[in-house]
Point group: C2
Chain length 210, copies 2
DNA sequence: TCGTTTGTAACATGGTCGTGCTACTTAAAT
DNA sequence: ATTTAAGTAGCACGACCATGTTACAAACGA
């Protein structure tokens, strides 16, 4: 937005268009993997010409980076609202299920979250060899650990968890468990079903509680 | 090996050559990802002409499938020897560390296993959208659960673990934890160090023991 | 020696890719 | 009505890729 805009052409919101392109990208990634997410394929999926896509994203890499940041944002919003809900809960009896629900946000328990997890796995593995994706991937990694750590610390503070626990170790253990469940559900959805995941998560939380 | 070989040309062992090509493929995958593991790049890495590689593998896909089977085999061998060692152990005091060592075989605790885990993650994620890789990926998934399940069942039989545990749930939980640790170590080696992994694993086993 | 088979190499083909570039359309501002 | 910039569309280029095919070298059995 320059100071002097002498001609403003369209009603179309650039932001909305960029998100539409990103949604198309996500569909391609979910269906065929990141390696098939070329500008051509994404443009076709979005029903746009390749030049139109390039109007919003100067390069293929910029599109990927933006898409991963978008995913980061969506996950972050869900986690923040879940965390606030726990904070607002009055009694310990209310908190238990809310904690399970919050951590469940990180698992592909329904179709939407499954799609999200598929894309998540595709991007963070791609980030291993694509430097431009690493910052977002690292923020996602840290974000999960921050949330898990706070939940555990809160539970200890409320006496729902024994005090002898090493917070860092338990955070890493629970976060790794969640990651592992998500990965397995993405790669073998018929074996790692939502029921399996919730059972395992519930078991883990129960054991933590002593 | 046909019954009538009417002309034997070379001293070179075809088996050894195939493995050399696969090793080159693994190096490329580790360094640059599966998407860069083209016949050209692999041939270059192996110091061969592209035609020579195709002499041993009729297609790119066949090479990938063979490579994943090779990985499957290597992991399987390590797990089998580890399992035998536990079976041969006499006292319970000996078994504890051996169990930890066996499960540690599934974690990238040293440089070799780290390379292996990187390749493992690259292949199983690629298997999601590459049908030809799925059988091997599924065998790997099941194999880990079989081993983990047997270890847990053995521990219960020896009284090292309480009897009230649900074997299926605990197997899935421990397997997911191992997978999650491996994934995190591959993607964020500086955060998920070998020390972190062994600490988490030890903690989990200790908690299981009650 | 000759013939056969394996190993090695190179070329042509058809395809996809990212990107630079050009041209046309649309609508707000003057 | 004219100007101006944003949006849209599409082409052309050079690079890379997998694969089919052909050609040649090497090594053994006959």
């Amino acid at each position: 937005m320059g100071v002097l805009k002498r001609g403003v052409p369209r009603i179309v919101d650039a932001e909305a268009r960029r998100r539409a392109v990103v949604d198309a990208l996500f569909r391609v990634v979910r269906r065929e993997g990141v390696e098939q997410a070329s500008l051509r394929n994404v443009a076709d999926e979005a029903g746009l010409a390749i030049g139109s896509v390039r109007h919003y994203f100067d390069s293929h890499d910029e599109l990927l980076v933006f898409a991963l940041q978008e995913l980061e944002e969506r996950v972050g919003v869900r986690l923040r609202t879940g965390a606030e809900r726990i904070f607002a809960a009055g009694t310990s009896d209310e908190r238990g299920p809310l904690v399970e629900a919050l951590l469940g946000e990180l698992l592909p328990l329904d179709a939407d979250r499954r799609d999200e997890s598929v894309i998540w796995l595709a991007f963070i593995t791609a980030a291993r060899t694509r430097p431009s994706l690493r910052p977002s991937a690292l923020r996602l990694h840290r974000g999960v650990r921050t949330v898990v750590g706070r939940v555990l610390a809160g539970a200890v503070a409320h006496g729902a968890l024994p005090e002898g626990l090493d917070p860092a170790v338990e955070t890493e253990r629970l976060a790794a468990l969640l990651d592992g469940l998500a990965v397995n559900a993405v790669l073998h959805p018929d074996l790692t079903t939502p029921e399996v995941m919730t059972t395992v998560l519930r078991r883990h939380l129960a054991e933590l509680a002593g």
